[in-house]
């Protein structure tokens, strides 16, 4: 009988902490914070910090290819190359229709839009960039990855604001379970560090002034970041048959909505997402060792998420290791869940809980073990990763040791 467990056979990442999945994990483990002063076009903004990518994202791309690519697609391609290389997978023509690609994005390719506005409104330019439409579209990352690797099965983008990557990962999980594909390249990406978008977040008043301090009593908000993550998901016996190294099992996925407030997280919707995720993977609450929290660092999210975790896990909540790696890689919106998947898989394989950095003082409303400032050694069999988005959309995934 076909073993439809889902293997993770490759990981890639470009984040504020590092240019690769390995660099990012090394940084997260060491508590390295990639959030710093914004260096590009920060005039007339209240926000002064963000998670910028610490390197040249265009390096290695032929100049001819770049006009067609907005930064959110470039970093997704870089992450996909890493993941496909680690998976050791070449998509042969006779197998191409059994491979899919699903990439989550919270925004879209906004750089070319902003440049167009500036050119036309400020400088009297006559036309927008020819590539504005193909660069902007939210499916651009998935489409470009499919073209680079010759992927011809289900290829599409998904969007759910800050939960986009987890929805994409969950959709890949379901596609393999349903027999639609044997391999699905999944992940998420966003590049929101652009003046126009930052101006919008300024207006929303949820951004941290000096640092992102999830779960800390003095937390003042989130830090936006650019970032992308990609994973290669594979039907278990397919991965086995070709001798691939299985990094971990993608053991479950849950998706729900609050249908309530636009930006205030609820208790019911996220709790059901976690429960559904655990059920889908036949995971008991007591099996979970590590929760990679949504942990944005806003007042409301972190205290609400604490209540959600306590509601779902009951007495086991005090035995859980919890952390917010967003304190280091920032909130890459549609990219966050995929960067956090990189953290979860490595946490399991190395028995290391990455820390929540910038943590100053305990908040009685966030009374879980949030792994303050320094990583912790701990045997981890199952990790879950929470994403609770504006719009009340929730997606949770579970990863189990292979």
């Amino acid at each position: 009988m076909t073993d439809r467990r889902i293997a993770i056979t490759g990981l890639g990442c470009v984040s504020a902490v590092g240019m690769t999945a390995d660099e990012t994990w090394a940084g997260l483990k060491a508590g390295h914070c990639g959030i710093g002063p914004l260096t590009d076009r920060a005039e007339d903004l209240k926000v002064t910090i963000g998670g910028e990518i610490p390197g040249d994202i265009t390096e290695g791309f032929p100049p001819r290819q770049l006009p067609a690519l907005d930064p959110f697609t470039i970093i997704a391609l870089r992450a996909a190359r890493q993941a496909m290389a680690q998976a050791g997978l070449t998509v042969e023509e006779d197998f191409a229709t059994r491979v899919g690609c699903i990439i989550g994005v919270g925004y879209c390719g906004m750089h070319v839009v902003e440049e167009g506005y500036r050119n036309i409104f400020l400088h009297g330019g006559k036309r927008a960039h020819l590539m504005t439409v193909p660069r902007t579209m939210p499916v651009a990352p998935a489409g470009q990855i499919s073209m680079e690797f010759g992927i011809k099965g289900p290829v599409y983008g998904v969007t759910s604001a800050c939960a986009s990557a987890n929805h994409a990962i969950g959709a890949g999980y379901q596609a393999i379970k349903a027999g639609l594909a044997d391999v699905v390249v999944v992940g998420g990406t966003d590049s929101p560090l652009i003046w126009g978008i930052l101006k919008g977040w300024d207006a929303l008043r949820v951004l941290a002034a000096d640092a992102c301090r999830p779960f800390s009593l003095n937390r003042r908000g989130l830090a936006l970041a650019d970032g992308a993550g990609v994973a290669v998901l594979e039907r278990w016996d397919h991965a086995k048959a070709r001798g691939a190294t299985i990094l971990a099992e993608l053991a479950g996925a849950g998706m729900t909505a609050d249908a309530a407030d636009l930006v205030m997280p609820g208790i019911d919707g996220p709790s059901r997402a976690i429960e559904q995720c655990l059920q889908s993977g036949d995971i008991a609450v007591g099996d979970v060792d590590y929760v990679n929290a949504h942990g944005t660092g806003t007042k409301a999210n972190d205290s609400t998420e604490t209540r959600i975790i306590r509601k779902v896990f009951g007495g086991h909540a005090d035995d859980l290791a919890v952390s917010s790696t967003k304190s280091m890689h920032g909130h890459a919106l549609g990219g966050s869940g995929a960067i956090e998947l990189v953290a979860c898989v490595n946490a399991i394989n190395e028995g290391v809980v990455p820390p929540t950095v910038n943590y100053d003082e305990p908040d009685p409303d966030c009374d879980l073990d949030v792994t303050p400032n320094v990583m912790k050694k701990r045997e981890i069999d199952v990790a879950i990763s929470n994403s609770f988005a504006f719009g009340g959309t929730n997606a949770v995934i579970a990863v189990r040791k292979a």
Partner: protein, 86 residues
Amino acid sequence: MSRNLERLIASEIAAKFEIDAETITKQTNLEEIGVNSLELVELVIAIEDEYDISIDIDTTTAASSLKTVGDLVALGESLGLDKEAE
């Protein structure tokens, strides 16, 4: 003056595709040197910018009528670019 238009197109192609401009003639087949549908429109935009005109084409079908450098030159000529340049 269509020679000027031809050399303009050749220099645009040369810069973008890293090909020696001297090797590009009216007979050069655009698809054979790897010009895709959107890059073809970029060449049309270069002509628009150079001569400050507007050229009405359909991106989705342009490649079926504009196959060579000569076709682009003929398109320019049909819009009277020769006369204007003289």
